[in-house]
Symmetry: C2
Subunit: 441 residues, 2 copies
Amino acid sequence: MTPERTDTGSLVTVMSDTVIIVVPVDAPVTVALNRDRLVDAMETQAAIGGTDDGGLHRLALSDEDKAVRDWFVEQLRALDLTVRVDAFGNVFGRRSGTDPDASPVLIGSHLDSQPNGGIYDGQLGVVAALELLRTLDDEDAETAHPIEIVNWTNEEGSRFQPGLQGSGVWSGEFDLETEYDRTDRDGVRLLDELERIGYRGDAPVEPAEPYEAYFELHIEQGPYLDESENDVGVVTGVVGLSWGEVTFTGEANHAGSTPMHLRHDASVPAAELLAHIRRLPGRLGERTVATVGSVGVTPDSINIIPETATVTWDVRDPTDEVVDRAVDRLSSEAEAAANREGVECEIEETARTRSAEFDDRCVETVQDVADEFGYESMRLLSGGNHDASHVNEVCDTAMVFAVSEGGKSHTPEEFTSWDDCYRAANTVANAVLATATSTAD
Amino acid sequence: MTPERTDTGSLVTVMSDTVIIVVPVDAPVTVALNRDRLVDAMETQAAIGGTDDGGLHRLALSDEDKAVRDWFVEQLRALDLTVRVDAFGNVFGRRSGTDPDASPVLIGSHLDSQPNGGIYDGQLGVVAALELLRTLDDEDAETAHPIEIVNWTNEEGSRFQPGLQGSGVWSGEFDLETEYDRTDRDGVRLLDELERIGYRGDAPVEPAEPYEAYFELHIEQGPYLDESENDVGVVTGVVGLSWGEVTFTGEANHAGSTPMHLRHDASVPAAELLAHIRRLPGRLGERTVATVGSVGVTPDSINIIPETATVTWDVRDPTDEVVDRAVDRLSSEAEAAANREGVECEIEETARTRSAEFDDRCVETVQDVADEFGYESMRLLSGGNHDASHVNEVCDTAMVFAVSEGGKSHTPEEFTSWDDCYRAANTVANAVLATATSTAD
């Protein structure tokens, strides 16, 4: 199949179901991905740790995570990419560029999932990156800049906290040894699991060289694109976030024979704190969200007064000062509630991500591609936190959001139509391609 | 060692550390138990499933429960008792009486424990019963009525709900097949566990014949005896109890990107219900207690809005109508809170025990024994529920309470001094003996 030169000067190759347009280096470059192959790869990854109800259960560093990593590396090797695994398990595959001085453009996301999560989430971002490289290979297309694909370790932060861990260490925001020592609920150490599944690589956990840019496609995980009937989201930044945990410690005692006035029931301040956290939004910033995702008591028996009660918080706002104020307020309330019940209280912030503002040039590149493809788009601030927040500290960054039907996320009901997957994949792929074919500044 | 007749006509045997006084059948009969042997048996049972912090973890029908049952049966056989295991795993050992027409006097309690509970609880009641039979054997003492010792299956209701299960089926309050089908949190069926540990016996789960009376020794699990510096408690009845569970079902969604007004967060009504349940005491009866011992959410991840939240209740009051009103109120609040958040709500009462008033004659027998031994005593209503509540439906019943230091219960810090154990054991043993030696009414 020989490329034909069109009368606009582009090289056009028509394949069975793909149109590839490679234009001269000084003109915009666009590729249309292979929709069937994209869907096929999405279905393949979704089957690894797939649940009966169409969801995905692929916790970081589990056997399922190992299996999907093995599949991913196999795909990279099939593309003759230089595969690099760093000492925190982040997996990179590099496709060379023609300009030896041009720094690489990074594209990717993560393959791990929440417990019983959905199949799209960040997985779509990795699969779209893979499909970009396959499409470029199909056409023997060259780029001035190398293109590097990445799968970050433990984005979800569900089994091991905090999340965004691989990108956090890589970007220098997190300390490697501290993160190695994290344990899951069964006391299993992260480093041990990393070694067990064979993904503690040799490469240092840091940017090997300056990066030209990073692009990440992720599903929106919110309702705005769906409600506004847009095709793709052009993400301009990520809200600030605080995660933490409050543990109340009172006294276990018999539920029947302990008079009310002699109780030190850890569940009582926990419930009060939960209600307080729920009331934070609407009192601070206009776009504050606050969630208690995890609640538990011990000994957790119907007729024993709880000795301990744990409540987590997840607070986000576009303005970091609002997040600060929210954490101050909930901490005060935790202490006040503990005092009222006569129990102890321990407050720990387990993760903090400052709000991120993405690079104008990268955001405009995404916007231009969406416009060029004729996709309806809107600009969005991400409420969810992403590896892109960390990478943004290292190099220019932008994100593309795919439509999440009904905004559902982290549940088997999460859904993005294949058409929406394809549109978003084309957008991120071509933003990368545009950046990788641009001449050095 | 030969008994000597004293000048009051009693037979007195002096052993190394035991004084046994056997008096003629028409006079009150008193035995002093062997304190060292009682302590020794307490320590032996406490080691089976004992925890490092001095507590006891011996959940119903677990391997530890099997081990303690095996030990118990061995002790019964060593006493040449007729051992009977019924089809629900209740274990009986009968010592014959001299009067063929006299109905048996039952004494016992339970050997299972809460998760990380204490070593005294009901265990003391079984060990005291054992020590009574050993003491009677030492002296070849005879009683008109047979004396039967019992270990009830699953009193605690921690692993399998409801509690008081063995006595509940035996007394006809619970349905055998329904209770067989109960499952623990891992979905393991009760009947399967009963068979696995080899304690599904052949005897029908019912009183084989009329019983003369039932006496049960248990630790108080409350602070009243300790605070009032009494030696033993004479229990006149048990408060009414309701156990239940409310499950709220909303929608799992991403904690960052789901706007507050689109949430259906199951944890919010759960917290409101918990706070409401806490406020029930002080609004209904004078002695109402209400507890939420178990709280949980799914998927239980820091950045996912909970889809389900479960809250248990435990409400008790001496007056059954107050318990009824409490359940009505918390049910209304659960529904109202669910409506406010736009989530579903399922309310299930899992156990209900009407308040029990013990038999005057039995209570007076306990009081007389305490007085005779010179023990300081007080009359109490039990806030904790006991197998005695069920047995009270079948035959005359009373209970003895041992001092609980600080009222602590269902925790490794639970403590009753050996002196207090001994005093309470002597009290229940001699109440049984007095009843078993009395002539038929």
